[in-house]
Every structure is written in structure tokens, then in C-alpha cells.
């Protein structure tokens, strides 16, 4: 492989990130297409995609709930937060509900340790949660969706 091409390959992750931003996930077809663009074996691109947790292989829900499981959040009760959401929405860590509305994911750290416990929904962070506050936030999203529909 020529040096030029090798250097180009270092953009693979960037291109995958762009794809994910656009489509919300990375499909088989996208992997094949990108592999061809980079002149890389399909299996290598698939291997890269599957290595990094940022890349999703299935479409996520409209509202992506991330429960921070960083140390500060964990010791203050992020497991309870996760379970409360599961009880409320009926989806477990890593799942999307049937309507494709909410998906739930436990993540390493959102970096807002002083606000523990925190979650983020589509990037918006909610901190210092207790059960009441949490359920209200989710209920508001549900309401918003019902009103929009």
C-alpha cells in the first residue's frame, strides 16, 4: 500500500462518524460503500465499526437516553436510575422501544460528576436526579411526542 493511501486510511473513523451523524447508525451497505471508497477489505471496516462503542449498527430511538455510569454517578446510584427508566419505559440497557421513540444506553462518563447522578437525552444533560425528577423528565418527552403526533 502506498504511503499516501495509508495516510488516507486514517480518515476512516472520521468518515464513519460522519455517516453515523447523518443516518443515526451504520448499515451493512454503508460499510460496503465506505470499504470501497477507502479500498479496504469489508471485513476490516466491519471490524473497526464493531470495535468502537460510538458506532451503532441498528437505528437508535428518536430520543436517546444515556445514563451516566461514571464513578461519581455510580456510587450515588446510577444503577437505580437505569432500573427506574427500565421500569418506566420497558426497555433495558442497549434497547430501543418498539415505536422507535426511546433508546436507553448506559455510558461510561458524561463528565458532569458534580451533578451526579446525571442522564442525557439527545445530548441535553439532566443532573442531580432523583426518581421523581427523572420520571417527570421522561413524562415531558412523552407528552411532547403525544402533542406533536
Amino acid at each position: 500500500m502506498s504511503k499516501e493511501k495509508v495516510m488516507e486510511k486514517s480518515n476512516l473513523i472520521k468518515v464513519l462518524q460522519t455517516e453515523q451523524k447523518k443516518e443515526g447508525f451504520i448499515s451493512d451497505a454503508a460499510i460496503e460503500r465506505i470499504a470501497e471508497e477507502f479500498d479496504l477489505p469489508v471485513v476490516e471496516v466491519e471490524g473497526v465499526v464493531s470495535f468502537y462503542t460510538q458506532f451503532k449498527r441498528v437505528p437508535p430511538g428518536k430520543y436517546q437516553i444515556m445514563v451516566c455510569d461514571g464513578t461519581a454517578c455510580h456510587i450515588i446510584g446510577s444503577t437505580l436510575i437505569l432500573n427506574w427508566i427500565t421500569d418506566d419505559l420497558g426497555i433495558k440497557d442497549g434497547e430501543t422501544d418498539e415505536e422507535g421513540l426511546f433508546s436507553l444506553e448506559s455510558v461510561a462518563c458524561l463528565g458532569c460528576c458534580s451533578l451526579a447522578p446525571v442522564i442525557s437525552i439527545n445530548g441535553k444533560v439532566y443532573g442531580k436526579l432523583d426518581r421523581k425528577k427523572l420520571l417527570k423528565i421522561i413524562a415531558d418527552y412523552k407528552k411532547k411526542e403525544a402533542a406533536g403526533a
Binding site: V6, T71, L110, L115
Partner: protein
């Protein structure tokens, strides 16, 4: 007369609601300039707003996006003014974060107004080996955790003859509970870049990467703005040649904090580490000699060059010079980012700066998943690389979590092992399978099914994983377990021998109990129970109960609590 209003808009501020405050302030402050700044480290008081006036600056804490409150603020109302407690002011030493939250992060001019890029200017007039020498004099050690002398690493790269040399800033801050690097990049992107450019001059590297965690969008944004600004001004020209600086976003893999894995990831590959030697300074990014330093390391460099290595070394201890940033969180009053001189004791950080209640703290977890737990009776230990290592912890990147008396140490260890198991790249047998087996063993113990053999297995396998792993992740993964085994062995034994979790944290070892004496029969617990396990006469069916704590949370009179499983509690006759 108000000159300017600064809203702390780093991630922590935004999470606390600073965005709404900013919007509203812009509306009601009319002609006054409202700017976004970074973080001053006092996260517990967010959202923070600073008002610059002729007669001095005033900071306001916990500002709510309410017009009435903001009006008061504009009137410089004394009531909500923020005053950091004196003990913290006394103990902190702001060497590298002095500008954080004080200046607009994306303003090159403002950075320059505060001696920004003076270090670079000076460096450009120096010979590369003079810079390396200065850094050696400063005795700056890598802030990413390993503590390798930065000057020495640079001298290796500087000595290399190659058509291309690469300098990489490791900003893949993956420790759960650490946000030092994020704060630096969000609040002081120019300071980090200045440090890198000085490094480029010193080592001859002309290709610079910042490998940043994708979870830090604001950091990426601010860095990119800063890079654009210096390129426009030509600040990136070294010896007549433009230096290429590029921010590369990681994609979610803690192991990429390991330098050979980081390089693989930069190259667009799976982030698996490889055996060293060859070290990256011999064979790095695409084979070119490369040096990797942490964000905080680079952030220290402008001061060293500007003020001199000797001046830098005045702070700290003989072998650990300068300051260290810590992300302080957990069971304490004042969480946030602190910058303290090396050599300060753990106790000073936890009690004096963090405001934790003496007697309520069991331990600190230092160094995240690679670090260890240090019990409260060792809190007089000075924070320096060697003292921490001798206790079985590590300096790490700077996560410092205070663990209160009511937390289970076995569960804490399990938590970290779960993290490293999930983050193992899967290459080395010991790390890939060994951490999984340790995790399963810890789950047996917290699940009430552990044995004393399990405790022995943890220690034997833990030490083997350290020996039999290629990279820092595997070599340190067992630390949280081994250090808790060392200092909190009694908790492990209580779990396996008596089925008792003194912290009442391990679900399998507790029951939920309603004290009939206190109960006012308000029905809240029954209403909120997701599994309908509370009877009409307020008795919990512990066979069905999932220990979700919903009832405990909603009980208005604190009549519900976790008790030891099968524990006898006197009930109303």
C-alpha cells in the same frame, strides 16, 4: 459600571442550566456584553456568572434562569454573590488553570492579553535542545497517569532523524469520573495548543494530532476554533514551516488512552495495543517517530518556557513538581475541578478543599479504573507519584472520588472491573478472559454466593493479569480489586462468610423493611412500587421486591430502609 458579563459555559455549567441563563441574560442585559467562558472549577456552585465592573469582579452562584434573579444579579446584589471558602483558596495553587473561566476560551486576543503565546514566542527563539533542557529542569512528569518525565520523552523524539515526526496530544480522557482534560480543552484551548507548538519546536515534529474523546463536543469545537485562529495569524509557523494540527475524535474506546492503541486508532484501525518496544518515539504513527503527551502535560508547558523550568519546580516536591488537577467528586460538599500543588496530603484535598465531613469518609478512589482505593487512615499521605504507587494506587489522570462510609467497597471494586472488562480490547488472554472471570467472581460475592476461595482467586488472578497484559489497561485493571482486598479485606470476608454487606448496598444481601412505628400509611410507597410488592398493611414482600429503592425515595417520613437480609427487626406487636 458593568463592563462585561461572563457565563460559565463549560459542559458542567451547561448541564446545570447555564445555557438558559445565558439566553435570558442576553435578552435582559441589553447593551451589556455577555460572553461565554469556561469553568472555574467550582462545579458544585454552577451555573456561575461573573460580572466584570470598574470596581472589580463579582461572581454569582447557582444562578437560575429567572428574570427576577438575573435582575438582582445585574444590580450586583450581595446576597447571591459567590465566595469560595477560604480553606480552598489557601490550599489551591493555580498554575495552569488560573485563566480557566476567566477568559473567553475562543478569544485569541484575550488569551494573548494574559501572556498567551509568550512562551511560544520565547521558544521560537530558543534552540530545540534548550527547550528540552528547560522542560527537563522543570522535572515535569506525564500527567496522563504514568508519570514519565516529559523532557526525556521529548529528547527521544528530538534525537530522531526522520522525514516526518509526529506529536500527539492524548485527550482521550476515558476514566469515568475524570474531567480535567475536558475542562482544559473547553476553557483554555489555546494554552493546550501553545504547549503543543512549543513541543513541536522542541522535537522537530511537524504533524500534530489532538486525539479527543468524541463525548466532548464542546472541547472539539473550541479546539478547532482555536486552531483556525492561530493558523490565520500564522502562529503555527515554526522555522518557516507551517505545522499541521488536527483534532481527531475518538469513537468510544477507553483502551485508546494507551499510546500504541491510540496510534492504531489514529491510523483508522481497531484500537488494540501492541508490544513495546519499539516505543512510539521509534515507531509511531504510520511508522514515523511519535511522542504522545497528555492534555494537562501540554498545558503546563507554556508556563515552564515562559517562566523557566526552575521556577516551575519550586512548586511541588522534589520528584513530583508543579501542580496536579483533580476532578473531585463523590461523597463531599464541594465537588469540582481543583488544582493543587504536588505533595499536598489526600486529607487536605478531601476535607479542606472538598469539604467532606471527617469521619464520614471511608476511602478515596484515586486514578479511576487503573487506580486504587486508599483508606481514610492513610489520608496524611502526600499526593505525589511515588507515595501513591507505594499505597497500591496511582496518580492516574486525576479522578478522585470520595467514598463515604455507606458505600460497599466490594461493589466499588466490581464496578471498576465491570468497566475494564467492557473496555478490554480483547487481545491478551489474561485481560480478555481474566478480567471477565474476576468480574464474575465479584458478582458472585456481591450476589451473596461467594466463597473464601473466590477471594483468594481474585488476588491470584489479579496479580497474573498485571503480569500477563500488554498495555496499561490490563496491567492496572486489577488495581481497584487488589487495593480494596488489601485495605478492606474485612468487607470481602463479611460478604462471603456472613452474607453481610455493611453498606446495605449489595441487593442480594439486603431486605427492604417498613418501620410500622414511623409509617403514616400515606400510600406513596404502594403507589410507586413498580412490582407491587408492598401489601395494604405496609409489609414488603422481599421475595418479589427488586430493591429499586423507589419506596425509600418517596417515603415522606423515612420509615423505609434497607436492612441486612433476614435481619431481625422488632415490629409492632
Amino acid at each position: 459600571m458593568i463592563k462585561r458579563i461572563k457565563v460559565g459555559m463549560a459542559s458542567c455549567g451547561i448541564a446545570a442550566g447555564a445555557g438558559e441563563v445565558l439566553e435570558l441574560l442576553k435578552e435582559i442585559a441589553q447593551d451589556k456584553e455577555v460572553v461565554e467562558v469556561g469553568c472555574i472549577g467550582h462545579c458544585y456552585a454552577e451555573p456561575l456568572v461573573e460580572v466584570e465592573t470598574d470596581s472589580g469582579n463579582y461572581i454569582f452562584e447557582k444562578v437560575q434562569p429567572k428574570e427576577k434573579d438575573l435582575q438582582k444579579l445585574l444590580e450586583l446584589d450581595e446576597f447571591t454573590r459567590f465566595q469560595p471558602h477560604n480553606l480552598r483558596i489557601d490550599k489551591e495553587r493555580l498554575l495552569i488553570t488560573s485563566l480557566a473561566g476567566k477568559i473567553v476560551p475562543t478569544s485569541l486576543d484575550e488569551y494573548k492579553d494574559h501572556k498567551g503565546y509568550e512562551g511560544l514566542k520565547k521558544a521560537l527563539e530558543m534552540k530545540p535542545d534548550e527547550i528540552v533542557e528547560e522542560v527537563k529542569t522543570s522535572k515535569l512528569r506525564g500527567r496522563g497517569g504514568g508519570g514519565f518525565p516529559a523532557g526525556l520523552k521529548w529528547s527521544f523524539l528530538a534525537a530522531k532523524e526522520s522525514e516526518q515526526k509526529v506529536l500527539i496530544c492524548n485527550a482521550d480522557e476515558g476514566d469515568p469520573g475524570a474531567f480535567m482534560d475536558r475542562t482544559l480543552m473547553e476553557s483554555l484551548p489555546h494554552q493546550v495548543i501553545e504547549g503543543m507548538l512549543i513541543g513541536a519546536k522542541a522535537t522537530g515534529a511537524r504533524k500534530l494530532f489532538i486525539y479527543c474523546r468524541a463525548e466532548y463536543p464542546l472541547a472539539v469545537k473550541n479546539l478547532n476554533i482555536a486552531i483556525e485562529q492561530i493558523e490565520k495569524e500564522g502562529l503555527n509557523i515554526i522555522d518557516g514551516e507551517p505545522v499541521d494540527i488536527m483534532v481527531k475524535e475518538g469513537a468510544g474506546a477507553f483502551v485508546c488512552g494507551e499510546e500504541t492503541a491510540l496510534i492504531h486508532s489514529l491510523e483508522g484501525k481497531r484500537g488494540t495495543p501492541r508490544y513495546r518496544p519499539p516505543y512510539p518515539t521509534d515507531y509511531g504513527f504510520h511508522g514515523y517517530p511519535s511522542a504522545i503527551n497528555n492534555v494537562e502535560t501540554f498545558a503546563n508547558v507554556p508556563f515552564i518556557v515562559r517562566e523557566g523550568g526552575a521556577k516551575f519546580a519550586e512548586t511541588g516536591t522534589e520528584n513530583s513538581t508543579g501542580t496536579k488537577l483533580f476532578a473531585l467528586a463523590g461523597d463531599l460538599k464541594y465537588s469540582g475541578l481543583v488544582e493543587v500543588p504536588m505533595g499536598i496530603s489526600i486529607g487536605e484535598v478531601v476535607y479542606d478543599i472538598g469539604g467532606a465531613e471527617p469521619g464520614s469518609v471511608k476511602a478515596v478512589q484515586i486514578g479511576g479504573p487503573s487506580g486504587g482505593c486508599i483508606p481514610a487512615d492513610h489520608f496524611d499521605t502526600p499526593i505525589d507519584y511515588d507515595s501513591l504507587t507505594s499505597l497500591g494506587a496511582i496518580m492516574g489522570s486525576g479522578g478522585l472520588i470520595v467514598i463515604g462510609n455507606d458505600r460497599c467497597m466490594v461493589e466499588t471494586a466490581r464496578y471498576f472491573l465491570e468497566f475494564t472488562t467492557r473496555e478490554s480490547c480483547g487481545k491478551c488472554t489474561f485481560c480478555r478472559i481474566g478480567t471477565k472471570r474476576m468480574l464474575e467472581t465479584l458478582e458472585r460475592i456481591t450476589g451473596g454466593e461467594g466463597s473464601t476461595e473466590d477471594v483468594e482467586l481474585l488476588s491470584d488472578l489479579g496479580n497474573k493479569i498485571i503480569r500477563g497484559s500488554l498495555c496499561g489497561l490490563g496491567q492496572t485493571a486489577p488495581n481497584p480489586v487488589l487495593s480494596t482486598l488489601k485495605y478492606f479485606n474485612n468487607e470481602y470476608l463479611a460478604h462471603v462468610e456472613e452474607g453481610f454487606c455493611s453498606a446495605m448496598e449489595c441487593k442480594a444481601l439486603v431486605d427492604v423493611f417498613i418501620d410500622q412505628e414511623t409509617c403514616i400509611e400515606c400510600g406513596q410507597c404502594i403507589k410507586n412500587c413498580p412490582v407491587d410488592c408492598i401489601s395494604e398493611d405496609y409489609v414488603v414482600d422481599n421475595e418479589v421486591c427488586t430493591r429499586c429503592n423507589s419506596c425509600i425515595e418517596v417515603c415522606p417520613v423515612d420509615a423505609i430502609a434497607r436492612i441486612a437480609k433476614g435481619g431481625e427487626v422488632s415490629v409492632r406487636n
